[in-house]
């Protein structure tokens, strides 16, 4: 017995020994369908050590004897903890995770589990960002997030986008605040979308108030990709090549029709028709100027990324080369971008981690003039008469005998354009994180955003004259003195931020988080430039100011700088009880050099509450995994008010002549009075929201309703002349935005056929509540051929269209005589405008609101399907209920081309009640701003369709390849709209109060492209 006992003890000891000793284990990790998962992470619980699976999904790991639990994780799959026991082979099947409850979301100064968020925060992931190849990260936001409206300012490569979070919040700058890896940046055109891990948009005040004086128009938090610890090195190569082409042309008159109408217009105006148009049929089709300026243009990208991580460090490095030419102008409108990124993170000590983010961007953008009615190739092509050929018989460019001033040969104009922007930009940070105690952490970050941009313009000399000696070409078709100019702009911003966080749990149920921090931020902008004329060479390669033969004294030169600084203190408290009752409060104090002496610091509080009802005992619906009610209130500021608006410059140049020789003598006076009270614009926002998740994440529903009031809005309201100065900018206006945002998604990944469908919609209304004392309306939106088209007035949406109201056409003389007086030369066939004030005369007082450029709602629909190796995705995006003012046609010129609709013109009683008669001089001013030019701007657009195929892993794993995917994609394949112009998607191109006015908008292209993603 005793021996047995000893032996047993020995065995037991041996056994114990074996558990204390090292233990070699191995296994295979697969998904639910049995496919091996490559690169899944296996971590030994309680340590930093672990491994990842190889190309066959296999792993090997050596455990210390006291190590028994493995944590297995893989992106997109539910994390599992496995107790090893005595096994040496541990195979694990991971279930795909579709629930977002535990998703970690980046919020202001921290992260938070989605289930615990009590504000309105929306996320776009890297998959969504790269799904449709995009040039700029903002494009990835379009249609993805309810309440974030993105519109293209132009279809030209590299042009900016308008991003509005919860509508237009002010008559001034409504751009959101962009924070990239904690660094506030102006615009995000420098970012390579492939480098982005996630974009989080803080929509309500409670989420954004921690950004205080800068958060009023929403905050866009962008996190770039970093490596993960314990991750084998990964190499990815992504590339695509595509062809862009125009998808729509306007129906314009051909030469024959043009001549017929020209003859008719001349006769109607009492002139003799032009001799050369005596036989219109001879002229035939003539020139199609749209075909002449539009072209197919390439777009392509190459991206190489490396990432990986060991126990204590991780890194990612990437390089990208992107090229896009324009469908108008080709290379002359081309965009080229190189980006390099290096992010790393290293745990130096148990208590100290350091890291960096670094992005370098070099980009060039060739710009052709766009989006104005004067000098753009597009507006010229749309207005140039079809009789004029592109080229003369000798091959040189032709000019029109009919068009005037602005409307010159667009092909030649493109040839003469040399306008190149070159930008070098470095955005980077270095940070240290110290764990002072387990509960208290300290983080300090120093970051820099430095941009060096130059613009080079060369205007060559040219002459389209048939006989140069006679110089017969009109003024716009010749330029005898060439000129060159250069601008140098440098932005250097640095920021230093220090944050302390404290997290604790009391009595197992009170979760407390505390954040305190300071920020100091300094911006400096330096500009300089010069110009000169008369270069002996007409070759753009020789276009340097110093090459001029003119005296140095004739060189134009300027230089200057502006500065601003921000000093802030902020804090945040998060508290929840049993993950059930959520409470959060933030406070920020912002001191800004932009604010006047009397208001140097602004204070911004916020509160939010959440109630996770499904965690209550009385909740009985088991299939609801989250049912959370949220409510928040907070205040924010908008500090985009100009650097020195509070101060007053004593303006020089108030000259007078003195002395015998009439010497011009300088005088000085402050033209604008100072406003030491000047401060930020304040927005106060209340948000009520609901988050629902059902069937373990299959169904997700989010709803938000908000009221946002922007007060203290900056406006230089007209002041009485007794002041003797120009109106100072004051904090006097008020705008209210109200809106409802809904998003719903359904995902099913249970079977081999996996799919998801999601949709979001946002309703927003914007009303001006006050424009200060007197409250005179603000007139904007000048359309050259017609006049001011927009007005911003108390009680109306921002920048509403304002003009005359048409009432059919005058069919005969009696109708003209019976109607209010319009013009002494008004004739039958002219437009009858409504006499709104019934005073018997049609004048400025007969105008009314005739359209609203802001949509009633915007929406996006997304669908993804996956079967075996195939994947298909569809993405639709649209806006509904907005109007567009169509200002494309230069009605102020009598000889410009016209849309074909003019063929239905009035030619006699009863022939038309809409399209007026044609004349040369438009005595009735039919072209004035009226509802005639206001069109429904609603559209729905198939933004992207993509079909991809991934080679089976069984095939590629032998080649040590993790992923090999090929895809074909089509962008803007289909657009459904009633709008007659070239593109209904029109951003704010000329300031905040100039919305939805089409002055010849550079349209977006339809793009077909093919690409490849390889990871190994």
């Amino acid at each position: 017995m005793k021996n047995k006992l000893i032996i047993f003890t020995l065995f037991w000891l041996l056994g114990s020994f074996s558990t204390f000793a090292q233990n070699q284990i191995s296994g295979l990790i697969t998904d639910s369908t049995g496919e091996p998962l490559i690169g899944a992470s296996i971590l030994i619980k309680g340590t930093n050590s672990g491994t990842i699976t190889d190309y066959d999904g296999k792993y090997e790991l050596t455990l210390e004897s006291d190590q028994k639990i493995l944590q297995v994780s893989y992106t997109g799959y539910e994390e599992q903890e496995i107790t090893v026991g005595n096994r040496t082979v541990v195979n694990i099947t991971l279930a795909e995770s579709i629930s977002l409850i535990d998703e970690v979301v980046v919020v202001g100064y921290g992260t938070q589990k989605r289930s615990k968020i009590s504000g309105a925060v929306s996320t776009v992931t890297s998959d969504e960002i790269t799904e449709a190849p995009v040039l700029r990260a903002e494009q990835a936001l379009q249609g993805r997030i309810a309440g974030v409206q993105v519109s293209q300012n132009s279809g030209s490569p590299g042009s900016a986008l308008t991003v509005r979070v919860r509508g237009v919040g002010t008559i001034n700058n409504s751009d959101p605040l962009y924070i990239v890896d904690g660094i506030p940046v102006e615009g995000i055109d420098f970012l390579n979308p492939n480098d982005i891990e996630s974009i989080n948009v803080l929509k309500d005040a409670a989420s954004s108030a921690i950004y205080g004086a800068r958060g009023a128009n929403g905050v866009v938090l962008i996190t770039t990709k970093g490596g993960k610890t314990n991750q084998a090195g990964k190499v990815s190569y992504d590339a695509y090549y595509g062809v862009q082409s125009p998808w729509k042309k306007m129906n314009l008159l051909n030469a024959r029709e043009y001549a017929i109408l020209s003859n008719e217009a001349n006769i109607n105006s009492g002139n003799i028709p032009l001799q050369e148009f005596a036989n219109p049929d001879q002229l035939g089709e003539g020139t199609d100027w749209q075909s002449a300026i539009f072209q197919d243009a390439p777009i392509y990208s190459h991206q190489l990324s490396f990432s990986g991580g060991s126990e204590r460090s991780s890194y990612t490095a990437s390089g990208n080369y992107f090229v896009q030419d324009g469908i108008i102008g080709g290379r002359k409108a081309g965009f080229e971008r190189y980006t390099v990124r290096l992010n790393s993170r290293n745990q130096l000590k148990d208590w100290l981690t350091i890291g960096n983010t670094l992005g370098f961007t070099y980009l060039t953008r060739n710009a052709v003039p766009e989006n104005n009615e004067f000098a753009t190739p597009l507006v010229r092509a749309l207005n140039m008469d079809p009789v004029t050929p592109v080229r003369k018989p000798d091959g040189t460019f032709a000019y029109s005998y009919y068009s005037d001033t602005d409307i010159t040969n667009p092909i030649n104009a493109i040839q003469q354009i040399n306008d190149k922007w070159t930008t070098h930009r470095i955005v980077g940070s270095v940070y240290g994180e110290a764990e002072i105690t387990q509960k208290i952490k300290f983080r300090s970050v120093y970051s820099v955003d430095a941009t060096f941009a130059t613009r080079d313009i060369f205007r060559p000399s040219f002459d389209l004259s048939i006989n140069p000696l006679l110089s017969d070409a009109p003024a716009g078709e010749k330029n005898f003195i060439n000129g060159v100019s250069k601008e140098n702009n440098t932005w250097r911003n640095w920021q230093w931020e220090n944050v302390v966080t404290y997290n604790d749990v009391y009595a197992d149920r009170h979760n407390v988080g505390l954040t305190l921090g300071t920020t100091v931020l300094n911006n400096r902008f330096d500009y300089a430039g010069g110009s000169n004329t008369n270069l002996p060479s007409n070759d753009p390669k020789d276009a340097y100011i110093s090459n001029t033969i003119d005296p140095i004294a004739s060189q134009g030169a300027y230089a200057g700088a502006t500065e601003s600084a921000l000093l802030s203190f902020f804090g945040k408290v998060n508290y929840d009880l049993d993950d059930k009752y959520l409470f959060s409060a933030t406070f920020r104090a912002d001191g800004s050099s932009r604010f006047g002496r009397n208001n140097r610091y602004g204070y911004f509080p916020s509160f939010s509450l959440g109630w996770v009802i499904n965690r209550e005992d009385f909740w009985s619906m088991d299939n609801v995994s989250l049912f959370k009610l949220r409510a928040s209130w907070g205040q924010n500021g908008n500090d985009k008010i100009g650097d020195y608006s509070f101060s007053t410059i004593v303006n020089a140049g108030q000259n007078y002549t003195f002395g015998d020789g009439e010497i011009i003598t300088n005088g000085n006076v402050p033209l604008v009075s100072a406003n030491p009270d000047l401060k930020w614009e304040t927005s106060t926002q209340t948000d009520i929201g609901l988050d629902v998740e059902m069937y373990d994440g299959k169904i997700n529903f989010v709803a938000d309703y908000y009221i946002k009031t922007t007060s203290d809005m900056l406006y230089a309201a007209p002041i009485p002349f007794v002041a003797g100065t120009q109106a100072p900018v004051r904090n006097i206006g008020e705008v209210e935005n109200k809106g409802l945002e809904l998003s719903l998604s359904y995902r099913n990944r249970d079977n081999a056929f996996k799919y998801s469908v999601s949709a979001n919609v946002a309703f927003v209304s914007t009303d001006v509540l006050s424009l200060g004392e007197g409250g005179d309306p603000i007139t904007t939106g000048n359309v050259f051929s017609a006049g001011a088209a927009a007005r911003t007035e108390v009680g109306h949406p921002i920048a509403s269209f304002y003009g005359y109201v048409t009432d059919g056409l005058f069919q005969n003389r009696q109708e003209i005589e019976r109607h209010a007086f319009q013009n002494e030369n008004t004739a039958p066939g002219d437009i009858r405008f409504k006499d709104l004030n019934e005073d018997g005369i049609i004048n400025n007082f007969d105008r009314d609101y005739i359209g609203n450029p802001t949509p009633d709602f915007t929406y996006g629909i997304n669908a993804d399907f996956e079967y075996k190796g195939f994947d298909v995705s569809l993405f639709l995006q649209g806006v509904q209920g907005n109007d567009i003012f169509n200002g494309i046609v230069r009605y102020d010129f009598s000889y410009t081309n016209r849309p074909q609709s003019v063929l239905n013109r009035w030619t006699g009683e009863g022939t038309s009640n809409f399209e007026p008669r044609v004349t040369v001089n438009d005595p009735n001013f039919n072209a004035r701003v009226s509802d005639r030019f206001v069109e429904d701007g609603s559209y729905i657009r198939l933004k992207n369709v993509q079909i991809g195929y991934s080679l089976p892993k069984s095939l590629i794993s032998k080649l040590k390849i993790d992923k090999f995917r090929l895809y074909l994609s089509a962008q803007n394949l289909l657009t459904i709209t009633d709008y007659s112009g070239l593109d209904p998607e029109i951003g704010a191109t000329q300031g905040a109060l100039d919305l939805g006015i089409d002055r010849g908008f550079y349209p977006q292209s339809r793009t077909f492209l093919g690409g490849v993603n390889i990871t190994f």
């Binding site: 208590w351 002072i436 600084a565 001191g591 020195y644 303006n651 002349f721 004051r730």
Partner: protein, 493 residues
């Protein structure tokens, strides 16, 4: 816990640097805080006030001849036709709209001038500089302020009196009675007269600056407009006895380039032909639009405004002979318009018989650069010595000094070889009135002379003038609105 020490160090450092950090003032341009420190600053501050004297047209500016001549029986609006500045025609016919941009511009320019003078009067006194020079600068500013107040009160009657730089909370001030404005003007001018150097005491480089004589001349006018005859007479005599001024020999020379700032120039607003015109508050420019506006159309490249009436031309024949001043005042058909050719109706393209001559400039006098049309450089002769003499005559007449009246009147007439006036009583007064009309014709005096002497209804009644309404212009509607109703419209409008 060592780390906590570092942390507190960091925070302390942040607090320490905060003060300077947020103090950013504009890098380009001078702010108010850094200006008004030196004598040079003081001089350019008052120069800035002078610049307001040049403002013409809209949105802030004026032609004195719009109101003084066109509103009177001396001239008609002209232009390209009825549709060219129709509001001006309506005002001329006393059916004026109350919202014209010309009225707004007048109001705006005057208050901008007052503001600029107020800035000088508030910011210059603390500057450490030569006290005599400082007194001179303040005197110039006071006279400029008085001039704009004079325009306001004569044009609009009761108006807001702005005696300091206004704070935004003070923008909605109401009207002060005209009497208060007049008193304020007198006070400014009396003080300025004490501080300003005489014309002869200024160095040549300061030609064009406001002199003691200019302030005196304006004060004479100020008294005259209030019928304060004795005071007007006294100040006029001060000026006359100063010996600083005398009539130039040749009347025809007064309104030529070489006649600028001549011996009889008491107060003259300076313009030159360089750098374009002063449309609105175009502060860097020094040119005048009066030349181009008053030149005939057609080959004379003008806009054809301010057309002399037959009634006005007839005035020059009142004494049985043609007053020689007519030739210097009006172009008649067949006259040579300087170097621009002979005046025929064909060459102007319009059927008008007469064009004004006093603002005519030769093509050769225009600068070869800048906007070719507005390169007019003719100074605005606001107060001439002849005006002083005629004002003296009128004031003397009303104080019973007919001898003094006749002496001054005949001094003016003698220059152009018109007969001596020996009349007395009402005939003498009529002779003085007649003399003002022909001597000062088309210089922007007529309408206000008619109003202040109570003759407007008789002269202009047929055009629609009613004494109870039209002796002042309407206050621009926009300003009544902007004041939230604190300002009220002049009665009858």
């Amino acid at each position: 816990m060592k780390n906590l020490k570092y942390l507190s160090f960091v925070l302390v450092f942040l607090f320490a640097c905060q003060k300077d950090l947020l103090e950013k003032s504009p890098i380009i341009g001078v702010t108010e805080d850094n200006f008004y420190k030196t004598e040079a600053d003081a001089i350019s501050a008052v120069n800035g006030a002078y610049a307001a004297l040049q403002f013409e047209l809209t949105p802030a500016g004026h032609f004195r001849w719009f109101w003084g001549d066109i509103m009177s029986d001396d001239t008609e609006k002209g232009g390209s036709g009825a549709n060219d500045a129709p509001n001006l025609a309506a005002l001329e016919n006393f059916q004026g709209p109350t919202n014209t941009d010309f009225l707004e511009a007048e109001w705006a320019a005057n208050y901008e001038g007052i503001y600029r003078a107020n800035v000088v009067l508030e910011r210059v006194p603390p500057i450490e500089m030569d006290e005599t020079k400082k007194a001179q600068i303040l005197g110039e500013a006071r006279t400029i302020r008085a001039w704009f107040n004079f325009l306001q009160v004569t044009y609009f009657g009761d108006v807001p009196l702005v005696d300091q730089v206004l704070a935004p909370s003070e923008y909605t001030i109401g009207k002060n009675p005209a009497a208060e404005v007049w008193a304020f003007i007198e006070q400014d001018l009396i003080q300025a007269i004490g501080d300003l150097p005489k014309r002869s005491e200024y160095p040549i480089a300061d030609l064009g600056r406001i002199t003691k004589g200019a302030a005196q001349g304006l004060l004479v006018k100020t008294y005259l407009f209030q019928s304060k005859w004795a005071e007007a007479k006294a100040i006029a005599e001060d000026l006359i006895n100063s010996g600083e001024y005398n009539l130039v020999g040749n009347y025809n020379q007064i309104f030529t380039e070489s006649g600028e700032n001549n011996a009889e120039s008491v107060f003259e607003i300076q313009y030159m032909n360089a750098s374009g015109g002063n449309w609105g508050r175009n502060n860097a420019n020094e040119g005048s639009f009066s030349n181009v506006f008053q030149r005939a159309r057609g080959q004379f490249e003008g806009y054809g405004f301010n057309l002399p009436t037959q009634n006005f031309v007839d005035e020059f024949f009142k004494e049985g002979v043609e007053d020689p001043r007519l030739k210097a005042t009006v172009f008649r058909e067949g006259d040579l318009m300087g170097d621009r050719g002979f005046f025929t109706k064909e060459s102007t393209g319009f059927p008008h018989d007469y064009y004004p001559k006093k603002y005519f400039n030769n093509k050769s006098e225009e600068a070869p650069f800048g906007d070719p049309n507005p390169n007019g450089g003719t100074n605005d002769r606001v107060i001439r010595y002849a005006d002083i003499l005629l004002m003296h005559a009128e004031a003397a007449f009303h104080t019973g000094d007919e001898t003094g009246a006749k002496t001054s009147l005949n001094q003016v007439r003698r220059r152009v070889n018109m007969r001596e006036i020996t009349d007395s009583g009402n005939a003498l007064l009529e002779a003085i009135y007649h003399e003002r009309r022909v001597e000062l014709g088309l210089e922007g005096h007529r309408f206000f002379d008619l109003v202040r002497t109570g003759r407007a209804a008789a002269a202009l009644g047929s055009l629609g003038y009613r004494e109870e309404v039209h002796k002042v212009l309407p206050i621009p509607d926009s300003q009544i609105q902007a004041s939230n109703g604190t300002l009220t419209q002049n009665s009858g409008y």
